[in-house]
């Protein structure tokens, strides 16, 4: 069951990710990205990360991607043109992509040759309660700092956007 679920959602994630990259219209890319995120949420669940899975759906798929779609609509962005390619990106990009993939995989495999197998329910410490406990004790200061960060980001976004829209 674990294997089937993993393979299914991993496949969806990869296909959607490829779609993000190859689609020329941003709105298609955005919708594909939502697919990636949704399937990742399932994978998180499989890994025992309930809270993160929920957050993934609500924050990423829900909030962030809506923002993206909203901006795409606002700017009325169309399919991208084909001109003006970067030569460097062309020359180095494709070999770079494969080199990166191979190397990352190699490193990962080498670092974890005998890691345990993942079974659903093998780790149950990822509930909202557990995460919350840790978040509000040991990671209290970083947590508070992120709230400040978000506040600054909101202010920054407002300032940036307002300036041009007035």
């Amino acid at each position: 069951m674990d294997v089937i679920l993993f393979l299914a959602f991993a496949a969806i994630a990869v296909v959607c990710a490829v779609n993000v990259v190859v689609q020329t219209h941003p709105i298609s890319s955005a919708l594909s990205l939502i697919g990636v995120m949704g399937s990742l949420a399932v994978l998180y669940l499989l890994l025992g990360a309930e809270f993160i899975a929920m957050a993934q759906v609500i924050v990423y798929a829900g909030a962030i991607m809506v923002l993206f779609v909203f901006v795409i609509m606002l700017l009325n962005a169309g399919a991208e043109s084909r001109r003006g390619r970067s030569l460097t990106a062309q020359l180095l990009g494709i070999p770079g992509f494969f080199a990166l993939l191979v190397l990352l995989s190699y490193t990962v495999l080498r670092l974890f040759p005998d890691a345990a197998h993942v079974k659903f329910g093998g780790f149950t410490g990822g509930s909202a309660k557990d995460v919350g406990k840790l978040l509000f004790t040991e990671y209290l200061l970083p947590f508070e700092l992120t709230s400040v960060l978000i506040l600054i980001a909101i202010v920054g976004a407002v300032v940036l956007a307002r300036k041009e829209l007035e």
Binding site: A89, G96, A99, L100, Y106, L111
Partner: protein
């Protein structure tokens, strides 16, 4: 405790009071402070010396450690022995007289308080110089009097020639100090201390080559301070300062510091044969050389300045010949008569409202009689006429020279004749014959003539102070017999000099010019002081200055080093130009490079095997 520190500190207080508040004080108060501090200091010297009695050994007072590094400790220690006692009396005694004189001389000058502040500061440093119980304290005084000399020569700082002369004095002295400093360094290396009490007793056990080097380096220092060849050039120029300064610093006290220092270091010189020989050679050479220049000078102060150089040469001759006490003896008598000569000259200049050229004087004998008669005392003293002061001391030196090497005696006698000639020439030109100036001379006030009278007495009778006898515990008297023939020859030489001068300038006034013309080139050479200044200027000053500007600053600094730096910069710029191709501003090519870089990192991790635990 005799509180030796009071001796130098009193003038220092005078300096501080006058220097800080002098501008706001009344002239009378400035005078009182300046004179009072020096007179008190003199009184304290007398009291101390009486209190110390026979002074068979050095009396030392230690105050505080000036600085210490490792085993080397330099203390603020003062000491008095018989040599110091003589120097103290000369410095404070003659110094006091000159201070009194200066009150009259400087009355009408601007910067009255400044003058006396400097003069007091000078007294402070001079007293530290003679009282110091180690070489470094001696050096403090040594540099300090150099500073005061600089300030006082450049006292009329609106005159460029005056400030030039001050600067020249300081810098030439610095060349001497270069030698002195190196000598001190070598002394510390050799003896491990700078204290006189530790160095001199140990001198006998040290290798002669080291002692010779120390002796020669000290001699270089002495040459600078005491205006010996080849570093004498600053002293004639120093006459730009006010006349009391010339008398105090550049005749009676400061310039004799070199003599004092060599005498103080006699223990080293006695074991450094070559160095001592060198002292004699330099002294004799300077004595003759300066005397010849003195023959043809027309500025009354310049004549006396060259005379000072020459007389200092005499003292060095005495020291070099091993007669340290004779050298000090001459130092004392010279302080009397040369101070008198300068103060008298100052009185003449004062009377003539600033005229210094002998050719514009004449016939002053009746106009300013006090000055004339006191100067006459100095005249007979310096000419070596028995039984006056100069005769005794010069005689002692010449006898020692004869004992050392007879030829030195003969050169010394020749110099004595020249000395008698140029002083007589100055006297005849100034006081005899017809008045050549258009001035209306007036006699100086009593505050100036009184010190002249005291000094005149000392010049006449000073020779009977048996300084060599007093110094015998320090410098054993040489056993040379008192040869009357030698004495007679030198006296005759002096008389001949006076006679010749009388012939030239009184009996047949035209003769001098005729002789000068006959000598032609030789006269021009002497008249222009052998062009030594010009030679130094062309050989040292110009090349150094031009070389520094053109070669070092503009060449090496701007050209070579900055050029190299700019070269590096242009290489960097060229590299930057290459890299700039990458900096396209295109986000995606940047990203490509980031990827490229992370791939490299991964490869590196793979190669190094990081993380494989």
């Amino acid at each position: 405790m005799q509180h030796l520190w009071l001796i130098p500190v009193l003038p220092l207080l005078g300096f501080l009071l006058n220097g800080l508040f002098g501008r706001r004080l009344a002239k009378g108060a400035v005078t009182a402070i300046a004179l009072g501090s020096v007179l008190l200091s003199f009184a304290w010297v007398v009291k101390t010396l009486v209190g110390l009695g026979a002074l068979e050994t050095a009396y030392i007072e230690r105050y505080f450690t000036w600085f210490q590094s490792g085993d080397l400790r330099v203390g603020a220690d003062l000491s008095v022995d018989r040599l110091t006692a003589v120097m103290l009396l000369v410095v404070t005694g003659v110094g006091s007289l000159i201070h009194i004189y200066a009150v009259g001389y400087m009355t009408h000058e601007g910067g009255y308080y400044r003058f006396f502040a400097y003069l007091n500061l000078f007294m402070f440093f001079m007293l530290v110089l003679v009282l110091g119980a180690n070489f470094l304290l001696l050096f403090v005084g040594w540099e300090g009097v150099g500073l005061c000399s600089y300030l006082l020569i450049g006292f009329y700082f609106l005159k460029k020639s005056a400030t030039d002369a001050g600067k020249k004095a300081f810098i030439v002295n610095r060349i001497g100090d270069f030698g002195f400093s190196l000598a001190m360094l070598l002394i510390v290396i050799t003896f491990g201390s700078l204290d006189f009490g530790a160095v001199f007793p140990a001198a006998a056990s040290k290798p002669e080559s080291t002692l010779t080097l120390i002796g020669l380096l000290l001699l270089l220092g002495a040459c600078g301070k005491s205006a010996q060849a080849p570093l004498y050039v600053w002293l004639p120029d120093a006459m730009e300062g006010p006349t009391p300064v010339s008398a105090l610093i550049h005749a009676a006290t400061m310039v004799t510091a070199g003599v004092y220092m060599v005498a103080r270091s006699s223990a080293i010189y006695l074991h450094a044969h070559a160095a001592q020989e060198m002292v004699a050679y330099i002294g004799l050479g300077t004595a003759v050389f300066a005397a010849t220049i003195g023959l043809a000078q027309n500025d009354i102060k310049k004549v006396f300045a060259y005379s000072t150089v020459s007389q200092l040469g005499y003292m060095f001759l005495g020291l070099g010949a091993g007669a340290f006490s004779a050298g000090i003896f001459h130092l004392v008598t010279h302080a009397f008569f040369k101070a008198l000569l300068f103060l008298g000259a100052g009185s003449v200049i004062h009377a003539l409202e600033g005229e210094q050229d002998l050719r514009h004087m004449g016939g002053l004998r009746t106009r300013i009689p006090v000055t004339f008669w006191t100067l006459a005392c100095a005249w007979v003293a310096i000419a070596g006429i028995p039984p006056f002061a100069g005769f005794h001391s010069k005689d002692a030196i010449l006898l020692a020279a004869h004992h050392h090497a007879p030829w030195m005696y003969w050169v010394g006698v020749l110099t004595a004749a020249m000395t008698a000639f140029y002083v007589s020439r100055a006297m005849f030109l100034a006081f005899f014959g017809e008045p050549r100036g258009h001035h209306h001379p007036h006699e100086s006030p009593p505050v100036m003539t009184a010190p002249l009278a005291v000094l005149a007495l000392l010049s006449l009778a000073g020779g009977f102070l048996d300084v060599p006898k007093f110094l015998e515990p320090l410098f054993p008297l040489s056993e040379g017999a008192h040869d009357f023939a030698l004495v007679a020859i030198s006296v005759v030489a002096g008389l001949a000099g006076i006679g010749l001068a009388a012939l030239f300038y009184v009996v047949k006034p035209g003769l001098a010019d005729a002789v000068a013309n006959a000598l032609g080139g030789l006269y021009t050479l002497v008249y222009n002081k052998y062009f030594v200044d010009e030679l130094y200027d062309a050989a040292v000053v110009r090349p150094v200055e031009t070389g520094s500007r053109e070669a070092l600053w503009k060449g090496v600094d701007a050209g070579l080093i900055d050029g190299a730096a700019n070269g590096v910069a242009s290489i960097a710029r060229a590299t930057g130009g290459l890299l700039r191709l990458i900096q396209s501003g295109n986000i995606r090519s940047y990203a490509t490079w980031v990827v490229f870089g992370s791939i490299l990192v991964l490869v590196a991790i793979g190669l190094v095997g990081g993380g494989a635990r």
